[in-house]
């Protein structure tokens, strides 16, 4: 029972004193238990996040001591050699390359889809389209990987070789073998499919908060639909586009099974994304975990810690950016 009562030691009522009476809240037993449970549940989330960082740090300590600074600069992964040599340079590089390819493909599609759902599609279709986007997000990563390997890859190889033939003056499209399968490009295309739904839902939400009055004003001034989008919706949602893309980046960096199914692992840094061979931290952990023990296992945990830190930073930045763009900045009505 919540009881609001007068503080007995407080000032007594008189016409002269305008001091507000101090209010104290005395909660009943049930309420205190209820609040305690809710706080405990909330605290669990903090504790779990803390434990993730703590356990990864402690378990990777052994490997980090063995590798020293080389953990960030070496590209080879030979933790069972004597002396052991391993580092995440190449892994991190390829992780970022795959994520960037995925984003370059996913962001325009996501923006287009968000605009289509919000501005072009008839109202009755909107709910179903949003549901389909959510469904794309719910398709397991494993299924994307299998589909990418068996269906998409044979059809992408033609495009890869065409780009290598005709666009080789751009360094990233150069190839030095005639093997185009299992490349960073194929992995990036598959990951882009998984990233699109997340980016779309963030961008769509921010776009839908564009002020209706300004949109109608743009149309009333004789602007075309695209003119209205270009001058009102997109500038308003710029923060959402950046934040949503970074959220997608966080997902793309952590993508495991689909990448593991498609790539054939390499441990050297090369700018040639079309030819066979790529890698990623998450896929590397999944592929090597079964055979690892001792320092090798600790090294995998250390790689996982690096991935955890990177995704945490990227996601936190994206959350901040999206939250800013939602706070109503830039609305002048």
């Amino acid at each position: 029972m919540t009881v609001v009562e007068l503080d007995p030691s407080g000032p007594s009522w008189s016409a002269s004193s305008d001091v507000p009476r101090p209010i104290t809240v005395r909660r009943g037993f049930g309420d205190r238990v209820f609040r305690g449970l809710a706080v405990a549940a909330g605290a669990t989330t903090f504790v779990v996040m803390g434990l993730i960082g703590l356990f990864l740090a402690v378990e990777s300590w052994e490997a980090l001591q063995v590798a020293g600074a080389g953990f960030f600069t070496d590209s080879a992964w030979l933790p069972t050699d004597d002396p052991p040599v391993f580092g995440i340079a190449a892994l991190l590089y390829w992780t970022v390359v795959i994520a960037v390819i995925a984003l370059v493909l996913a962001v325009p599609v996501a923006i287009g889809t968000a605009l289509f759902i919000n501005e072009y599609s008839p109202r009755w279709l909107r709910g179903s389209l949003t549901g389909l986007v959510d469904l794309l997000a719910a398709v397991p990563s494993l299924v994307y990987g299998m589909w990418g390997f068996y269906f998409l890859q044979p059809r992408l190889i033609g495009l890869s070789s065409w780009m290598a033939d005709h666009l080789a003056f751009v360094p990233v499209f150069e190839v030095r073998t005639d093997k185009f399968a299992s490349s960073a490009f194929v992995a990036g295309v598959v990951v882009s499919l998984m990233v699109v739904p997340i980016v779309t839902s963030v961008v769509r939400e921010v776009f839908s908060q564009a002020p209706q009055g300004e949109k109608e004003a743009a149309l009333a001034l004789g602007g075309s639909r695209w003119g209205m989008i270009r001058t009102v919706v997109v500038p308003f949602g710029r923060g959402g586009i950046v934040g949503g893309s970074m959220l997608g980046l966080g997902r793309a960096l952590g993508e495991t099974i689909a990448v593991a199914l498609i790539i054939s692992p390499v441990f050297e840094i090369s700018p040639r994304i079309l030819e066979q061979g790529a890698n990623s931290i998450a896929a590397h952990i999944a592929l090597r975990f079964g055979e690892a023990s001792g320092v090798a296992l600790s090294a995998l945990v250390a790689a996982g810690l690096a991935l955890f830190v990177v995704t945490l930073v990227v996601n936190s930045l994206s959350t901040i950016i999206v939250a800013r763009s939602r706070s109503g900045q830039g609305i002048e009505l």
Partner: protein, 381 residues
Amino acid sequence: MTVVDVRDHDAPTVATGAPAVVERIRPRALRPLDVGLFAGSVVAGGALAWLVFFRLTPMGGGLGFVLGWWVASLFVYRTVVHRHLGRQAATDRVMAVVVGSAAVGLFVPLVLILFFVLQKGITALNWGFFTETLEFTGPLSPADEGGALHAIVGTLQQVGIAVVCSVPLGIMTAVYLNEVRGRLRRPLRAVVEAMSGVPSIVAGLFVYAMIVANSGSIPVIGTVVSWLPFSGRFSGVAAGLALSVLMLPTVTRTAEEMLRLVPGGLREASLALGAPEWRTALRVVLPTARIGLVTAVILGVARAIGETAPLLLTAFGSASLETNPLEEQSSLPLFVYQQIRSPEQAQIDRAWTGALVLILMVLILFSLARFFGARSKVARR
């Protein structure tokens, strides 16, 4: 939505011969000319792409041709509309096509995936898939032998454990965020947000390090964990815990959104009648949002059921039926992953069937979530 027609704004229409008759502008009316222009452009673009990809620079492949067709059609369409209706209309029309094709480009893969998995998975689908295990099935057995009963049982148990762990926690956290509104509200929301971005493999590594390996390198926690009946080995429970780490933020966020939809007047009415906070939350707020909460749980399950990476590090897999989740277990994603990576065609066929069952489970869960979600919207009004 107000839609303004741009067709006739800054350029004269084609038929400017006869004066006086002002054509009425009907927004969204589709005129034969529009359809003709668009269809003509697509045909012309196709011809252009054919020339480029099959005559000038051969060996482009089917996908390259489709992309080239799209670009060429857009180019032709822009030129033609520009000539007829002017620059502004041309930009507007072209961007409408671009935006529309982005949406199509997103949904085409979904349809392709569903059909491909169906086509591949149906070959090895038989009743035995749901009643047998891989205990007596070798790599060379035909695809219609053996099944995934052990994997399905494992998945159900592990997801069940994840639900039991994460749903009460998630809903209570949502209650804290939206009903109690304590001091930790903002940092907690940020942490939930950050937790939803934890890569699944990292969640697996965490549970592996804390429970499966339990090397005791952290003094107090290590000792406490070693008292648990499932510490120190691979087990279904460990897999369930890894999944619950992934489910918790999904459940919390969705549940919080659902609680936010409960009208404040209901809370105030309850409090004004003298009900304490806990009674208000338990008897008024949560029951009002119950359908939304079911949606939250289903969405969390849909995310957890297809996760493979954390299971590799926690459940480890097994070929026989293991109904005790304290032991090493298989699960459907793990089953599919292990079968698809093998060289034998029969095993790959079995993997596709597993993928089909998995995707059907996701689809069913998803339809349920949509169904309940739609009902919760009705309840709000």
